[in-house]
C-alpha cells in the first residue's frame, strides 16, 4: 500500500488529503481536518447571553454568520422576533459576509489555479497578459474590501461583529453612511463583474485543458435560501434530491436531525453529514441549483447563463467556483438596493425576558446552512451544537477526491497533475476547517 499525503493551502484552516493506493488502484481518499479547539465544550457553563460575542471566534472568515446564527438561536429560545429594521440590517450583514467571502474564495483562493501561479500576489510579477489581469490582486482586494466595509457598517467590526444583539441590532445606519456605502458598492460592481468575466474565461480554458469541468456523480443539494428572492438571513432548509427537480424536503432548523445524519470520523476532527445514505452538497452550487432566479439584473443574467450552459442541477466540481461569482455580483447589487431604503429608524431592538429551554438559529452562510443550537439551563449553556456547512460537504469532497485520484493514478504511474487536481477539488468546496472542527 502506498499512502500519498497532500498538504493543503489557500483554504481556511488546517487540513490535508490522504490517498491510499494499492497496485495502482485507489483504495481510499480521505479529507482530514487537523485542528481542534472544542467550542461545543468550552462554552458549557457560559451565560447564554454572551454567546454572540464568544462564538464568532469559531472563525474569523465566517464570524458574521456565527454572530447572526447565535443571536437567532437565543431569540428562538426567548421567543422574540426582532423589528423589521433589525432584520434588514442583519440581511446587509450577511450580504457583506457573502461579498467578502466569495471575493476571497474566487480571486485569492482559486484564481491562482486557473493561472498556474502559487498566489494571486505573484501575477503581476509574471507579466501575464496585460489587459484583463493587470493589477488583478489590487482589484480583487478592492472588491473584497467593499464587503468588509459593508460588514463594518452593519456589524460594527468586520471580523467578530457586535451589532446584532438579542431582540435586534444596537442601532440603525444613518442616511449619510448608507449613501457613502452605496457609492463604494456601485464603484465595486463593474470591477467585480470584469474580474468575474476574466475568471469565467480562464475557467473555460482550464476545463478545456483538463477535458472536464470535474464531472462527478449526482448529489443531493442543501440550502437555506428560497427559490426566488434568496435571503441569506435564512428561514427553512431546503433539500434537492439527486435527480433534481422540485425541493424534496423542507424543514426548520430544529428538525435537522430528522433529515440529516451527522457522524464523527476517527481520522479527522471534522464530522460528516449525509441524507438517507446519500452524498450531500452545500455551498454555492447548491444555491445555483435550487434558486430559479435572482432579483437583481446582472446577477440574474449570470445565473440564467449558468443554467443554460450547464443544466440544472449541475454537478461538475469546478462549477462551485463559477456559482460563487454569481453570488459575488448578487451581494453587491442587493446591498445597493437595501441601502436605498431608510435604515435609520428608531426601532432597532425589542426588550426580552431570558428563559431556559432550547433555541435554534439558522442562517445561509457562504458555505451553506449553518445551525446553532443551545440548551439553556439557569441562564447558562448546558449544551451547544454547531451544525457546520463544511461538514455537509465532507463526504462530497472525499468522493470528488476519489474521482480525481482514479483519473490520475494508473498501475503504471501517478500523473503529477493529481496534486493540482486535489487542490482544485478541495478549493471548489471552499471548506472552512476552523468552522468544521470548531
Amino acid at each position: 500500500m502506498t499512502t500519498l499525503t497532500f498538504p493543503l493551502s489557500r483554504i481556511e484552516g488546517h487540513a490535508r488529503v490522504v490517498i491510499d493506493v494499492r497496485d495502482g488502484s485507489v483504495q481510499s481518499a480521505k479529507f482530514q481536518a487537523t485542528e481542534f479547539r472544542g467550542f461545543k465544550y468550552l462554552v458549557k457553563g457560559a451565560p447564554a447571553e454572551q454567546m454572540p460575542v464568544i462564538v464568532p471566534r469559531i472563525c474569523g472568515v465566517c464570524s458574521t454568520a456565527h454572530h447572526v446564527a447565535s443571536v437567532k438561536a437565543l431569540e428562538d429560545a426567548f421567543s422574540i422576533t426582532p423589528p423589521p429594521l433589525a432584520l434588514t440590517i442583519r440581511e446587509l450583514l450577511m450580504l457583506g459576509q457573502l461579498l467578502q467571502n466569495q471575493a476571497t474564495s474566487l480571486f485569492i483562493f482559486t484564481m491562482p489555479d486557473r493561472l498556474g501561479v502559487d498566489s494571486i500576489f505573484d501575477v503581476d510579477e509574471t507579466g501575464m497578459d496585460g489587459d484583463t489581469l493587470a493589477g488583478v490582486a489590487a482589484r480583487a482586494l478592492h472588491v473584497r474590501q467593499a464587503g468588509t466595509h459593508l460588514i463594518t457598517l452593519a456589524g460594527g467590526q468586520f471580523i467578530h461583529p457586535v451589532k446584532a444583539v438579542i431582540g435586534g441590532v444596537t442601532g440603525g445606519i444613518s442616511a449619510e453612511a448608507a449613501d457613502a456605502m452605496r457609492v463604494e458598492l456601485a464603484d465595486a460592481l463593474p470591477v467585480a463583474c470584469a474580474l468575474f468575466d476574466t475568471y469565467w474565461a480562464h475557467s473555460v480554458a482550464l476545463s478545456e485543458r483538463l477535458g472536464t469541468w470535474g464531472d462527478d456523480a449526482p448529489a443531493c443539494y442543501l440550502t437555506a435560501v428560497g427559490g426566488t428572492h434568496p435571503n441569506y438571513y435564512g428561514d427553512f432548509i431546503r433539500l434537492m434530491g439527486c435527480e433534481g427537480g422540485d425541493v424534496c424536503a423542507q424543514f426548520p432548523a430544529r428538525e435537522f436531525r430528522t433529515f440529516l445524519t451527522v457522524e464523527e470520523a476517527e481520522y479527522s476532527y471534522a464530522a460528516q453529514t449525509s441524507y438517507q445514505g446519500n452524498v450531500l452538497r452545500a455551498n454555492s452550487l447548491a444555491r445555483a441549483n435550487l434558486v430559479d432566479s435572482l432579483d437583481t439584473p446582472c446577477a440574474n443574467d449570470y445565473l440564467q447563463r449558468f443554467h443554460r450552459e450547464f443544466g440544472r442541477p449541475a454537478h461538475a466540481i469546478l462549477l462551485f467556483d463559477l456559482a460563487r461569482g454569481i453570488e459575488l455580483v448578487y451581494a453587491i447589487e442587493r446591498a445597493i438596493e437595501i441601502l436605498r431604503e431608510s435604515l435609520d429608524g428608531a426601532e432597532t431592538r425589542l426588550p426580552y425576558e431570558p428563559r431556559d429551554g432550547d433555541g435554534y438559529g439558522l442562517v445561509e452562510a457562504p458555505r451553506g446552512p449553518l445551525i446553532h443550537h443551545y440548551r439553556i439551563e439557569n441562564g447558562l449553556i448546558a449544551q451547544a451544537e454547531f451544525v457546520i456547512p463544511t461538514v455537509h460537504n465532507v463526504l462530497a469532497i472525499e468522493r470528488a477526491l476519489r474521482v480525481a485520484a482514479e483519473r490520475y493514478i494508473t498501475p503504471e504511474r501517478v500523473n503529477l497533475e493529481l496534486e493540482r487536481a486535489v487542490g482544485r477539488v478541495v478549493r471548489a468546496f471552499d471548506p472552512c476547517i476552523a468552522c468544521a472542527t470548531h
Binding site: F36, F39, A46, I54, F121, A138, L141, Y269
Partner: protein, 291 residues
C-alpha cells in the same frame, strides 16, 4: 526596487484566521512587502528566511508546536498577533476541570495531530519580539507592525478613542447586562449601565465596538499602566471607574467582570505577572514590546 522589498511570513497555528483576514484588509502591504509564506493565500511548503514572522493562533496541537519551532529559526523578528498567540485565546476557556475530560476524549483519534493538554501562548516555547493584542488586531495595527511600529500613534485607552461623553449625573443603580436595553448615542456606555471596560483597555483599535453601540470587551488587553501587573490591579481599576460613574454595587461589577466573554481577554497579559497561577518562572511581557 522589488529586490529590496522586505519579506514577511504569516504562520497560522490553532486559531480562527481572523488575524489573517484583518491583515488581508491592510492592502497597502502589497506595494511595500513581499509576502512569502501564508498558507491561507499562498501555496508554499515551508517558512523561508524572512525579515518579519507574524504568528497567529495558540499552540494547541503537537503539529502547531513543530511548525512554530521550525518557523522561528528563519525569522529576524517574531511578532505574536492576536489574543490566541498571546494567551492561548478562546480555546483556553476549555482549560477547566468540568470540561477537561471531554477534550482528552477527543484527542484519542489516530492519524490526526495530538492535542496538547491546553492551548499555549506562543512565547511559552519561543522568544517573541513584539506583541500585537486585539481579537483580531485592526488592519491599521497590521500596517503599523509591518512599516514602523514605533511611529504608531494611539491613545492610551479605548475610552479616549471612543468619543462618547461621560456624565456625572446619569448614575445607573444596576447593570443592564450585555444584550439588554436601547443604546443612547454619544453617551458613555457605563452611564447607561453596560459593562464596558474601555476605560482601562489598551487604545489603538479606534473603538469600533463602542462606536457601534456595543460595550468594549477588552480584546486589546490592559493599557500600559496594567500590562506588567496582576489581573487584580486591572479589575480594581475597572471597579473604581464604575464607582465614580455609577451607583452599581461593587460586588455586582465584580461578578460581571468574572464572565467568560471578558475572561477571554482580561488575562491575556496578567497571567504572566502572577507566578502563583502559572507556577513558572516567566517574566511579565514588558510594555515596550507591546503595540
Amino acid at each position: 526596487m522589488k529586490v529590496t522589498m522586505k519579506r514577511f511570513a504569516v504562520l497560522q497555528l490553532s486559531g480562527c484566521a481572523g488575524c489573517e483576514v484583518a491583515l488581508l484588509n491592510a492592502e497597502a502591504w502589497v506595494e511595500q512587502y513581499k509576502l512569502v509564506y501564508m498558507p491561507l493565500v499562498i501555496s508554499a511548503e515551508d517558512v523561508p528566511e524572512v525579515d518579519v514572522l507574524l504568528i497567529s493562533g495558540g499552540v494547541r496541537t503537537d503539529e502547531d508546536l513543530y511548525k512554530l519551532r521550525r518557523a522561528v529559526k528563519n525569522a529576524q523578528q517574531v511578532v505574536a498577533v492576536g489574543t490566541c498567540a498571546i494567551s492561548g485565546g478562546v480555546a483556553n476557556l476549555g482549560d477547566r476541570d468540568e470540561v477537561r475530560a471531554l477534550f482528552l476524549a477527543e484527542g484519542d483519534r489516530p492519524h490526526v495531530p495530538r492535542l496538547l493538554p491546553k492551548s499555549h501562548p506562543v512565547d511559552a516555547f519561543v522568544a517573541v519580539d513584539l506583541y500585537v493584542p486585539g481579537c483580531p488586531p485592526t488592519s491599521e495595527l497590521f500596517m503599523a507592525v509591518l512599516t514602523n511600529p514605533e511611529a504608531f500613534q494611539a491613545s492610551k485607552i479605548v475610552c479616549q478613542e471612543c468619543g462618547r461623553r461621560k456624565l456625572q449625573d446619569m448614575r445607573p443603580k444596576h447593570l443592564l447586562g450585555f444584550q439588554q436595553g436601547e443604546v443612547l448615542p454619544d453617551i458613555c456606555l457605563i452611564n447607561q449601565g453596560y459593562v464596558c471596560i474601555g476605560s482601562s483597555t489598551r487604545g489603538g483599535c479606534r473603538a469600533p465596538c463602542t462606536r457601534a453601540g456595543h460595550p468594549c470587551v477588552g480584546c486589546r488587553g490592559p493599557s500600559d499602566v496594567f500590562i506588567e501587573k496582576e489581573s487584580e490591579a486591572w479589575l480594581t481599576s475597572i471597579k473604581r471607574v464604575f464607582a465614580s460613574l455609577t451607583d452599581v454595587p461593587d460586588e455586582e461589577v465584580g461578578a460581571a467582570l468574572r464572565s467568560p466573554q471578558l475572561a477571554l481577554f482580561l488575562f491575556q497579559f496578567s497571567d504572566y505577572a502572577d507566578n502563583k497561577t502559572v507556577g513558572g518562572d516567566r517574566q511579565p511581557r514588558p510594555k515596550e514590546k507591546v503595540l
